[in-house]
Subunit: 395 residues, 2 copies
């Protein structure tokens, strides 16, 4: 029987909650070639793709029965480096607050698999990878993707690692959308999913915001129709604007207010008479966005941004009742988590996911958490949130 | 004595409420040179500017005592053409629903003055006007502006037209910010102001959204440091992205949902396998944003977009208690109007304006209206709204 419950957490969202001491140490990224011209990846829309190489990391130890596996698909701008560090212990993976010894996704107990998504730019085949037909990067010749395709590649990785059964898939935002797709695509392989700050149906507003961000890239003269590689010019203007737009929507109005209010850097609050100086960054929130854009340009690719936002627009996982019924029949279980200040994929999106799953007979726990930090809450060490994830993994 | 009241309207916001039949007929835009090298405009930040030419329109007849004047400053992307038409009766001014015979700003009774703002690109001197020092467009050599400067130029226009006393200043968004500045800068000249969907203190989120939009322009390779004129290249990519970002924030999530939901144009909902086709506009909301961007590029200038958004970031009209006290002493009156679904300058912004004015002793009426259409509600023929504006003009 399904159970759909709603639990309100107590407000406790102090930023900078101390992390559990320790955490994983040095970790490394591995590579695997999962699809070859002889055995290519067949995409949901009909195209085929080969080779497909995947960057991944694992944490903890696979047990003798290969049954202690937790998969953590990443969000839009993540990568395979989810936890630990690559040499500098101060620079840690994007979900280090959740993953490690004694942490909610406890690596003393679980074998955690994180991989860079298909279409990405952090070691997995994507639109800036070389097209074997031409030797040049694919660009916009890279085929259309679905979230189903992203999951299909992760399933191939797990087969490659000798895993047959998955204890849990846990993801936030686009990662949560993949967790949901996992339980519908392969309910016989996965015992439970934790779907955090996700949506199964982007609103017109969300599509519009993503369109504005993509158009900043697509219209940038340096985009050159996607053939910017090797020209010495990349659509950094567009990618920076896209990141700034996105970032503003990932944090709550309250978070920006608390962190920056209207603080400025100009000494004594002086205002210049020169137009050029006056238009330069001055408010602290502007410096913050500039910093966000600069670090993003160093690690992300404009084409991957286009592809991975577009898969979200079209995600519509409940259109096939047979998949829902199969998930229920397999005894799948889902924990669906939202944060009240998230205005991209907030509580109504999680409500709908929980409702559809429960109506089909999938076991559902719905957790509605309080946090002032908006959509990005899923990346933060908020005690109630950490407790919810830890509890969701209990067999 | 001040009175601060809050009135909730009944929900009645049906779009396409029929306009009052008639409306103004053919109108024309006039030009006036208001400041010359001999008598330049002295800007608040210390720079001087000359010549300053202003485009304006007037509707109705100035009465014998020049005392029936209503000034309507425009919002970010407006111009001097507030009402009537320029030859095609179907293409009417931006506030035609409010201005005309028998309309809330009744041109049978009031002499209405609309002008393009300083820094604009629709006939008034702005950063793309020729710099007399070089003969080339100013670009970023155009000086920093304040909302005080915008009002100072409008006051010069009214002196030029022989007007001494103003019955009312009525504006929405940036226009409302100017109305508020009017009553603080020249309380002896203006009897009442109607401040609609405005802010006297942009939030960090609003500044961040404007920064993202401006950076799309500033970083566009075709911006060329503001010297794009005559190069055959203009930062249209950046301006289009800026418009799309802005536009999404001017409409409510509900409005986008009602108008577009997830409707698509692809026949039968087909999804292409080609990345390039898949990234092209498909959802109706995308086509809508593309249309908004295209029409905007035809009529707006990237530099004006930069300057007129930046003046809003720095607007802080209550920092000088002496100006508030002078407004109260002059017997000024303000009606402050908000729309509940406006997430740029919503009810809390109007509450603050009303509170500060009332605390200083300015007479205030606060009207909090219900509308599903977001910030752009101030441009629409919503019956409760039209009634509030009409009532606010009663002596």
């Amino acid at each position: 029987m399904s159970t759909a419950r709603t639990a309100e957490s107590s407000p406790s969202a102090a930023r900078g909650v101390p992390r559990t001491p320790g955490g994983l140490g040095l970790v490394r990224t591995s590579q695997a070639v999962l699809f070859t011209p002889e055995a290519p990846l067949e995409l949901e829309r009909g195209a085929v793709l080969a080779p497909v190489e995947v960057a991944y990391e694992t944490y903890g130890t696979l047990d003798a029965t290969a049954s202690n596996v937790v998969v953590v698909p990443h969000a839009l701008t993540g990568d395979a480096h989810a936890a630990g560090h690559h040499g500098d212990p101060a620079r840690r993976g994007w979900w280090d607050v959740l993953i490690g010894p004694g942490r909610p996704i406890d690596t003393d107990r679980w074998f955690v698999v994180a991989s860079n998504l298909l279409g990405g730019c952090r070691g997995t085949t994507g639109p800036s990878s070389p097209d074997p037909a031409t030797g040049r990067p694919y660009g916009l010749d890279f085929p259309a993707l679905t979230i189903g395709d992203l999951v299909r590649v992760q399933r191939a990785l797990l087969r490659h690692l000798g895993v047959r059964r998955i204890h849990a898939v846990v993801g936030g935002s686009l990662g949560g959308m993949q967790a949901l797709e996992w339980v519908l695509q392969a309910p016989e392989d996965v015992d439970r999913v934790v779907v955090i700050a996700a949506s199964a149906r982007l609103s017109a507003q969300s599509i519009a915001l993503s369109t504005a961000a993509r158009e900043a890239i697509l219209r940038d003269p340096d985009f050159q129709g996607g053939r910017y590689h090797g020209t010495g010019r990349r659509p950094d203007a567009g990618l920076a604007a896209a990141r700034m737009i996105g970032h503003v929507t990932y944090v709550s109005e309250e978070a920006l207010e608390r962190k920056f209010d209207r603080a400025r850097r100009a000494p004594g609050g002086a205002l210049p008479a020169s137009g050029a100086e006056w238009l330069a960054p001055d408010f602290e929130v502007e410096h913050y966005l500039h910093h966000q854009a600069a670090t993003f340009l160093d690690r992300f690719d404009p084409l991957s941004y286009l592809y991975l936002t577009r898969v979200m627009d079209h995600f519509d996982p409940f259109r096939d009742p047979a998949r829902l019924a199969a998930a229920a029949a397999a005894g799948a279980h889902a924990t669906v988590v939202s944060f009240d200040s998230d205005w991209r994929f907030g509580p109504p999106h999680s409500d709908r996911i929980a409702r559809e799953l429960a109506a089909a007979g999938v076991g559902v726990v719905r957790r509605s958490l309080t946090s002032p930090w908006g959509h990005d809450s899923f990346l933060l060490a908020l005690p109630d949130y950490l407790a919810v994830v830890a509890a969701a993994l209990e067999p």
